[in-house]
Symmetry: C2
Subunit: 420 residues, 2 copies
């Protein structure tokens, strides 16, 4: 039996548009992450255009140096989509049209109220000896093609949601079986804000050393800009329940070490979703007053479906007079504690909201009214009580705006958590 | 002399974080686009981790099947950064430390008020026979490494702005010389909004046929979501002036065929920058009133440095009462022509602005108050005169919000262009 340590899988992304830079190959990155998480080595990723000779060379090379190859793209219904044929050539077998798959595709079209174009029958062509991926979220079937000496080629469409479902349902379990991975591997991501990556790594260094010696979960860091700094814990165990238990214990340890203050969410939670949930739990409504972010805070909050039961609205007070007239900011410097405090209270008043966040500052690139770029005052108001603070960002305009957005929401989150 | 048709260059992206999916490889996409634009074939792109044996295999393979190889990443100062050593191994030569480059790196650090760490001296190690890229925007030197039989390996850092400058200044001219590309290749991109890709392609089909027969520029389409649908014209000519003349003629033809109405910008212009420029030219100030977009329109406008001379501010009126109270929307359905008209006028009044855009609708995923998801009313106001229209988007929440943003700005743009 081969083991996960020696078994490897590589990815061949197919499509001239990838080489020409018209599309960025995010599919390979996604699959690479999933393979790593599942403990399957992946040493190479290749992009190749819609050319049969070069495509075949790329697949054969991948097959020579790895145990499994995932081909992504080129499964569509047009003449350009030659992945099926090239894989059949690599296998040395003919393509066989499967009538049951033709009917499956036809049904998909009918479900969407459309007739199947004649071209799409080509998608039911399968190399002899191969089977179709059990998942088929779109109209393109995926392929699982066993090769001699225990190797395998998978083919998935380039459409991300189709690729992801086929990978999860039809490829990963098969890969794990082939690799002899019998353990269950699960991971949990804690999202943090308020510490640098190196600072967090230093804080957790002893714990990581302990895990290295005693076993248990593994810990990895991933900086994701204004989506937070992620701490990903991965556990390998004999059962799902056992893996969950390891993760629960490790999460408690990490939280105890780094402090709950900076851990704002888990897995799919975002700073916005967490603030909305906290407001909802406490029956509080929310408003915003934004200067340099220009609407970015409101835009992020309203990305979350269902935010309308909490979020009432916001003012983008870009011109100083707007701050004075609409928000009741006193005349004077608009990048100041006094101004941001008045903005936070003004937002609550104008929108009849229980809490608010407010920001005023200079996004850059240059200084404005004598205030240096990157200087930002932020405030949160909760039932009339305002807390304000100042930050000096060493970043460019885009990151000043993004980091201001998550930082002011993080400040409100901490206060809402404090409400119990 | 080799010609551009047979000469090819491929890219090897280096870094385990690329395989693990922690970073998406946008560098290769960018370089792929630049190579295509310059008329240099590129048939493969490979990602490989920080492993000397596999990295060497990937580079040697690339060198065997292409005339030039660009290695991206692994030029940093740490022990993990082994690209220099691996290239020296491929060349069969030792690394030589260049004292002048050590001093150049030291100066870069001093310019930023820092001492050079000892580690960074490693970045001055150059394979014997190689030279340093003339561009060095950061602290890492790039490499140009001639190999026997007229081939070449380039090495650039993985930091995008460093890679881009080195590619443009030190690699592309060298590649074009090696490829025997003596023609000047220039391109110009027209950004459009208001037609589908297939619709635009159909409209331009005769012109593309004409170009195929008579020569001149080439035309390509690129759909870029809420950044517009791009029409890229590329011209190859004996001189820069001649290429510019071809592009100018082709731009005039394309504009005449598709209509100036839908061409909103050229090259780096965005819908936001164009609207701001038009407002500035006519001495008009701008405000926004947003419901379903939640601040996205304001956020896009304020991405543009210097927008503050035009943009006064906006209201995010997420709750219905905000529309009624702050913007003077009459009681009644808030997704309606009457409501959006009142919002547009309200925004001008509240912010003392000459023009405004306003949107109200249902972003989804589900319906709201009996209004189907994707239903959006939009309006623009110019000096008190409002024009409103309704759109029914067949998209998900994110794209409903994004497409609404560019569509309402496009409507205002058309009116401002009409002012002459």
């Amino acid at each position: 039996m081969s083991t996960a340590a020696s078994f490897s899988c590589e990815i061949v992304a197919i499509g001239s548009e990838l080489l020409l830079g018209q599309i960025v190959d995010t599919n390979s990155s996604w699959m690479g992450e999933q393979l790593a998480l599942a403990g399957i080595d992946s040493h190479f990723q290749t992009k190749v255009g819609d050319n049969p000779i070069r495509m075949r060379a790329a697949i054969e090379l991948a097959l020579a140096r790895s145990d499994a190859v995932i081909c992504c793209g080129g499964l569509g219904p047009t003449q350009d989509d030659i992945t099926r044929q090239v894989i059949a050539d690599v296998m040395g077998v003919p393509l066989v049209r499967h009538d049951d798959i033709v009917e499956r595709i036809r049904t998909r079209f009918l479900d969407r109220g459309r007739d199947m174009p004649e071209n799409n029958k080509r998608q039911a062509d399968v190399p002899e000896g191969a089977v179709v991926n059990p998942a088929m979220p779109g109209t393109a079937p995926g392929l699982i093609c066993p090769i001699g000496d225990g190797k395998v080629i998978y083919a998935v469409p380039g459409v991300p949601y189709e690729m992801e479902e086929m990978f999860t349902v039809g490829i990963l379990p098969d890969l794990q079986r082939r690799a002899g991975v019998t353990a269950v591997i699960k991971s949990r991501t804690l999202k943090t804000w308020g510490r640098s990556e190196s600072g967090l790594a230093e804080t957790l260094a002893d714990e990581i050393d302990r895990l290295d010696e005693e076993g248990g979960a593994t810990i990895a860091f991933l900086a994701s800009g204004w989506n937070g700094l992620k701490v990903r814990m991965t556990a390998k165990a004999a059962s799902e329940a056992a893996a969950d238990a390891v993760l629960a214990e490790e999460e408690a340890r990490v939280r105890a070490i780094v402090g709950d203050d900076i851990v704002f969410g888990v897995d799919d939670e975002s700073m916005e979703s967490v603030v909305l949930d906290l407001c909802r739990r406490h029956g509080l409504s929310l408003a915003t007053a934004e200067s340099l972010t220009g609407g970015l805070i409101g835009a992020r909050i309203t990305e979350i479906p269902g935010c309308s039961d909490v979020f009432r609205g916001g003012v983008v007070s870009y011109a100083s007079e707007v701050k004075f007239d609409l928000l009741g900011v006193p005349e004077g410097p608009v990048v100041s504690e006094e101004a941001v405090t008045a903005m936070a209270l003004g937002a609550c008043r104008v929108f009849g909201a229980d809490c608010s966040v407010a920001v005023t500052g200079v996004a850059g690139p240059g200084p404005r009214d004598g205030v240096e770029a990157g200087t930002v005052w932020m405030a949160s108001a909760v039932r009339g009580d305002v807390e304000a603070f100042q930050v000096q960002w060493p970043f460019d305009r885009e990151r000043v705006r993004q980091f201001t957005t998550i930082t002011v929401l993080a400040a409100l989150r901490r206060r809402l958590v404090g409400l119990g």
